[in-house]
Symmetry: C2
Subunit: 396 residues, 2 copies
């Protein structure tokens, strides 16, 4: 069987107020074309389909159209799960009708233990969940209350879930897992996350690739670059669209989908690149260079979005200048403008860090440091983590 | 063909903070049982399925289950439309998958011109829309821009819509319309609205029953009591649940669904009552009576919800008393507590009117009168109306 693996569409997302819907529709068309050209047996969407628990109406309409084009117009099965950005309950609406046309969508942990059976492959769709979801699920399925209370990390929860899945394995088939977590290559790895989500909240980063050793292939969502894949058969497809400055810095774009072939002889994957409609370009130069025609005329002026950081910037020299306006005249759309200030002014530098790129916990930690000069203690960090976990839950 | 006609479920609604979901599930079970007992060919839900544009996750899950029970478990077709409380775009999600099992749901005006064809009946599903929606629709369908601008009232818009539907009539079939508006019996009628919605905003009340004369039967939603039906074949089913004090005052409950039989020989309808799980009882008595065991022991204490208005109430006599607590000891759950104050204190009385029972426009009007002593002028009223219209649109 041949699958197209994609994830982290984040429909409804904006970049500093600029809608990414056009960009998302542009890459979607390419994804659909690849699925048709490759004659895949299914499109896998590994979570974070929407950007938020309550997407705006335009996002709902846009996603409905995309899913219809794949599943109803082109009769291609869909295998999808919810991610941490999606509301499990909201996205669950209508799923039983969708199954009639082989559109499978799991959003609740309890739905993950019924693999979809194809001739050669068992497909396990495991949506994002947190330790509390696992505690509730296992308590409802006969686990002793005291035992269930021990499920405090996602690593522990995942092991229970995987063990239960392995029990369902048909030895005559290959086993495919689709899920949505930060997975590190082994227990000691420090994973550099490019997902902007609260991925470290609640110990999410403690899922390790060895936990998935019984599966023939694992299709992951959550981290937005495929370069974070922990192994050759446990892979992130990455998001189809660049969402922030960190992703824009990756030189060869790197955006695309994987075509994964799974049959009795084995498993292979092939990367298919996607091209953006409007590229996102990072420039980090001093003011003189940025204003120099020899420099800016080499850029794709008015055809890309620019994220510009002005280096060695001295505000006192530019009191009379409307910096943004001057740069827009030369480059077109500037979705982000930053100033690299004097290194010695450490406090100010901390404050100007783009908070979109760090987790909420880190933001609190940095703020605390700026104000008090001390780091958060471990118990304070734990408290902050608990609070953000609860906030995340309530948003859904 | 035999249809069950219901409307105005308002899933997710609360009554002064008390969730009505239990009550809604209780009446839903009866509706499903009636549909099965009567072996209906379809369940019609005439709008305001949800209570709000963005229902909470519990409401989404509850509705999904109800619709599944009707359509997937019991294989009964559903014919549904969105009302003014629903978000047309949000509720539209997934509708094309649902059509595969004869679950038809229209939420956009543009979807209303493709009747569902059965052997004997053409079913037109016309969701709630406003004059601006009609203007956009007709402009997109070739109407001259100046002509389209003349569509300023719902009455004008409805006439265009009905004319276009009549063109699609198959003379060999009966014609059923399902829609969601305040419809008065004729152009001069002053309709007493029991819907709490902004039903008069934008001139909605100007749809008249004579506009529907070409249809054999019209199933309406929007007004919550069937007693508001403008004629014998243009009927409101009413909501299955009592939502407010006005509805609670109706003596014989009056809640139910209609079984409508339509075939070549003609049309007939039969009322099937629904019984509440927890009744909503209005008491309007003086303090002495309310505290008298001879009175309160005759009430269904602890089995109903009470809305109590204390008549001839003099606050100065009860400074030391926790009124609500004293009444709860005797009656159980009190979802609303009001005081009927001295008639001469007109200003205060105006201020204590339950604003849930009047339209936003009336609220502004009353407030203006209280403060200035004058009524709003017609141009001021028109401005207020425009503003609320825009607010309603933005909420969706």
């Amino acid at each position: 069987m041949k699958f197209l693996h994609t994830a982290d569409w984040h429909i409804g997302r904006t970049l500093n107020g600029y809608s990414l819907l056009d960009e998302q529709e542009h890459t979607f068309k390419q994804i659909l074309q690849i699925a048709k050209d490759e004659k895949v047996d299914g499109v896998v969407i590994a979570g974070d389909i929407y950007d938020r628990a309550v997407p705006n109406p335009e996002a709902v309409t846009a996603l409905d159209k995309m899913l219809r084009e794949i599943n109803l117009e082109n009769k291609i099965p869909i295998y999808a799960i919810s991610g941490n950005h999606d509301s499990a309950q909201r996205l669950n609406y209508g799923r039983e009708w969708m199954e009639h046309t082989s559109f499978f969508l799991n959003t609740l942990l309890s739905e993950a233990f019924k693999p979809i059976e194809t001739a050669d492959v068992q497909i396990f769709l495991l949506p994002f969940f947190d330790p509390l979801d696992a505690r509730v699920y296992y308590k409802n399925h006969g686990m002793d209350e005291d035992e269930a209370k021990k499920i405090t990390t996602i690593g522990t929860a995942m092991q229970l879930v995987v063990n239960d899945m392995v029990k369902l394995f048909d030895p005559n088939k290959k086993h495919l897992l689709v899920t949505h977590f930060a997975v590190s290559a082994n227990q000691n790895d420090d994973l550099e996350l490019t997902s902007e989500t609260t991925s470290q909240v609640g110990g999410l980063a403690t899922v390790t690739s060895d936990q998935f050793k019984d599966f023939d292939y694992v299709m992951l969502g959550h981290i937005h670059t495929r370069f974070a894949s922990p192994s050759d058969n446990i892979r992130y497809s990455g998001s189809p669209v660049k969402f922030n400055i960190k992703e824009a810095r990756i030189k060869n774009n790197g955006k695309g989908v994987d075509i994964v072939t799974i049959d009795k002889t084995g498993v292979s994957h092939e990367f298919k690149p996607l091209t953006p409609k409007t590229d996102l370009i990072v420039l980090e130069e001093d003011w003189q260079t940025l204003c120099n025609p020899d420099f800016y005329k080499k850029q794709p002026i008015n055809k890309a979005w620019f994220e510009i950081t002005i280096q060695n910037f001295d505000r006192s020299e530019h009191v009379q200048t409307n910096i943004r306006s001057e740069l827009q005249k030369r480059y077109g759309t500037i979705v982000e403008l930053d100033y690299q200030v004097d290194k010695s002014d450490a406090d100010l530098q901390t404050m100007t860090t783009n908070i979109n790129e760090i987790s909420p916990e880190e933001t609190v930690d940095q703020f605390f440091q700026t104000i008090t000069g001390k780091e958060l203690s471990n118990s304070q960090k734990s408290l902050v983590s608990t609070i953000f976990n609860e906030v995340e839950r309530e948003k859904k």
